[in-house]
């Protein structure tokens, strides 16, 4: 349990930084403003809230989570602070858990605070917020944020070069931002191989692969459990189970867990 001093110190140092404060305020503000915008429509609900924010939150959360994760280990490692920290009786796991708890708390706390204010603004004065929908929305959003954060943290254990970690983090943000633009390219490539369906669309297995990207999973979870959409190739009545919302939850959990485990094993296994 000796991750606690590490987490405490990490948290204190983190919230001391000005750029960190600005990032936290910005994210919380956008989640709150989304509530104001959704509440301004005649009758605000969690559905209007989720729809209002769906254009901006995936990328915002991605950038935010990456920002807090990508230098967590490699920054201290390159500077030599990890050398100092690990002379003390902490295990590598303590370091990773401490960083995860402190930085994860900031990521989760900022989004949670913003979204709760947002939800209140949705309901005020004429809207209604269904408690169950709110809970699902928050859970899905925080899971998505933590998955990206875990990915960033794993990234920061992979290399001893902060520059490479920066390039990697940037790559992740770009990939999330432009992934959906690649769908047409996939279709073209598969078409040239004669693998598309009769109507020229992606076959189910290709949809599954394409739909593995975290922000698409997040979108599908919200569509499935908050908005209640039952159309389209993923959620329509003819779609197979592995393209549905429940599977998306499992896959997003895997996005959270696998990078953490991989990052830990990598960090534990290498010389400092």
């Amino acid at each position: 349990m000796s991750w606690r001093p590490i987490a405490r110190r990490e948290f204190a140092t983190l919230v001391d930084g000005r750029s960190v404060k600005i990032a936290i305020a910005l994210v919380a503000f956008i989640f709150a403003v989304g509530g104001y915008a959704a509440g301004a429509s005649p009758r605000g609900t969690m559905v209007t809230y989720a729809r209002r924010l769906s254009g901006i939150t995936p990328l915002l959360i991605t950038a935010f989570a990456l920002l807090f994760g990508y230098r967590a280990i490699v920054g201290d490692r390159a500077a030599g602070r990890l050398t100092l920290l690990l002379t003390l009786p902490h295990s590598r796991r303590d370091v990773l858990v401490g960083k995860f708890v402190a930085r994860g708390a900031v990521v989760v706390g900022s989004i949670l605070a913003g979204a709760l204010v947002g939800a209140w603004l949705v309901s005020y004065p004429f809207g209604t917020v269904d408690g169950g929908e709110l809970l699902v929305y928050l859970s899905a959003t925080l899971l998505f944020a933590l998955a990206l954060f875990a990915l960033a943290l794993a990234l920061s254990t992979l290399t001893v070069s902060p520059r490479r970690a920066t390039v990697g983090a940037f790559g992740v943000v770009v990939a999330v931002a432009f992934w959906s633009n690649l769908r047409g390219l996939f279709a073209l490539a598969l078409d040239s191989l004669g693998l598309t369906t009769a109507t020229g669309g992606l076959p189910d297995w290709a949809l599954f692969v394409y739909g593995l990207e975290p922000s698409l999973l997040y979108d599908r979870i919200l569509a499935s459990f908050v908005v209640g959409r039952e159309t389209g190739p993923f959620l329509g009545p003819d779609a197979p189970w592995y393209l549905g919302g429940e599977t998306a939850v499992v896959l997003l959990l895997a996005w959270f867990a696998l990078p953490l485990v991989g990052g830990y094993l990598r960090f534990r296994g290498t010389d400092l």
């Binding site: 001093p5 030599g80 003390l88 902490h90």
Partner: protein, 303 residues
């Protein structure tokens, strides 16, 4: 129980062997100096004590705890001043000490430690503004927290001015008197010579020698060097001097001076031998073989 026990430890980086089959035991309560040039493998050895680097083969134990498989337990015995560290720039000196206390689970007054390493005046300033010497003392303070059984210091005097180096030596000696085993590396011979009970010389990844400083002197031959100014510097006398018990070698140092290396208690016999042959000794001086000489002696053979 041995404070440090390394058994057949080898560390390879690709095709480079940084540490080559080291067997080393450091006994509880001693001050052990780990000597060698930069790149000789000293830091790699220390990194393996801390589990920063993992041995390719062999094991390292600290007070019976394996440094790799039971690394936290091993480090619970240790206070460490590593090399290539950086302090937390925004934390003050006092906060560093408090953090070390929290980590090691000890209660106490941070200022007791800050006093011992003499940075009380800077206790509430961010450590980012500390000089190298102050940072070095601060981290030594963190190492002293919780009165560890073993202090491990990698080049503790590097970056320190002579006064700082002296203060560092005094702290180490004082800690040792409290029963702490001290293991430190250095490429500065005087540092080692001044405080160490025993010395290990690393060279090209091998442990070239382990002994007390006196032992090393004896093994390296001579021990004492005599310079004798005489009225009749005939080379014939050298043979007679070399025939004396306890004399290692004798040579013509300059036109009126003999040089002799011998055991310490053979000095008078040398002078007597010269008198017996009717040679007048006008002047003589002795100098002990410095560790530098020993070092050159030892590292030449294994290069």
């Amino acid at each position: 129980m041995a404070a440090i026990r390394a058994t057949e430890v080898t560390k390879r980086y690709g095709s480079v062997t940084a540490v080559d089959r080291i067997d080393l035991t450091v006994e509880e309560g001693e001050i052990f100096g780990f000597l060698g040039h930069n790149g000789a493998g000293k830091s790699t050895m220390i990194n393996m004590l801390l589990d920063f680097a993992r041995p390719t083969t062999g094991t390292v134990e600290v007070f019976g705890s394996d440094c790799q498989t039971d690394s936290v337990a091993a480090r619970e015995h240790m206070g460490v001043l590593p090399e290539g560290y950086s302090v937390y720039e925004s934390l003050t000196g006092r906060e560093h000490i408090e953090f070390a206390m929290e980590s090691k689970g000890v209660d106490g007054e941070p200022f007791d430690v800050l006093d011992r390493v003499n940075i009380t005046d800077a206790a509430d300033r961010p450590a980012g503004g500390y000089s190298k010497g102050m940072a070095q003392r601060l981290v030594l303070g963190m190492a002293l927290v919780g009165s560890p059984d073993l202090l491990v210091l990698d080049e503790p005097t590097s970056g320190l001015d002579p006064n700082g180096a002296k203060a560092m030596r005094e702290i180490l000696t004082a800690e040792n008197e409290r029963g702490t085993t001290v293991f430190f590396s250095s490429h500065v011979l005087e540092q080692v010579e001044a405080v160490c009970d025993r010395v290990g010389i690393m060279h090209h990844g091998r442990l070239a020698a382990v002994d007390t400083i006196e032992g090393l002197r004896e093994t390296a031959g001579g021990g004492t060097k005599l310079l004798i100014t005489v009225d009749d510097p005939d080379e014939a006398h050298l043979t007679a001097v070399e025939a004396t018990d306890g004399v290692d070698t004798a040579w013509l140092e300059s036109e009126d001076q003999f040089g002799v290396t011998c055991e310490n208690d053979a000095k008078v016999d040398v002078l007597v031998a010269l008198e017996d042959r009717g040679v007048d000794v006008l002047d003589f001086s002795t100098e002990e073989a410095s560790l530098e000489d020993l070092f050159v002696e030892y590292t030449r053979g294994t290069a």
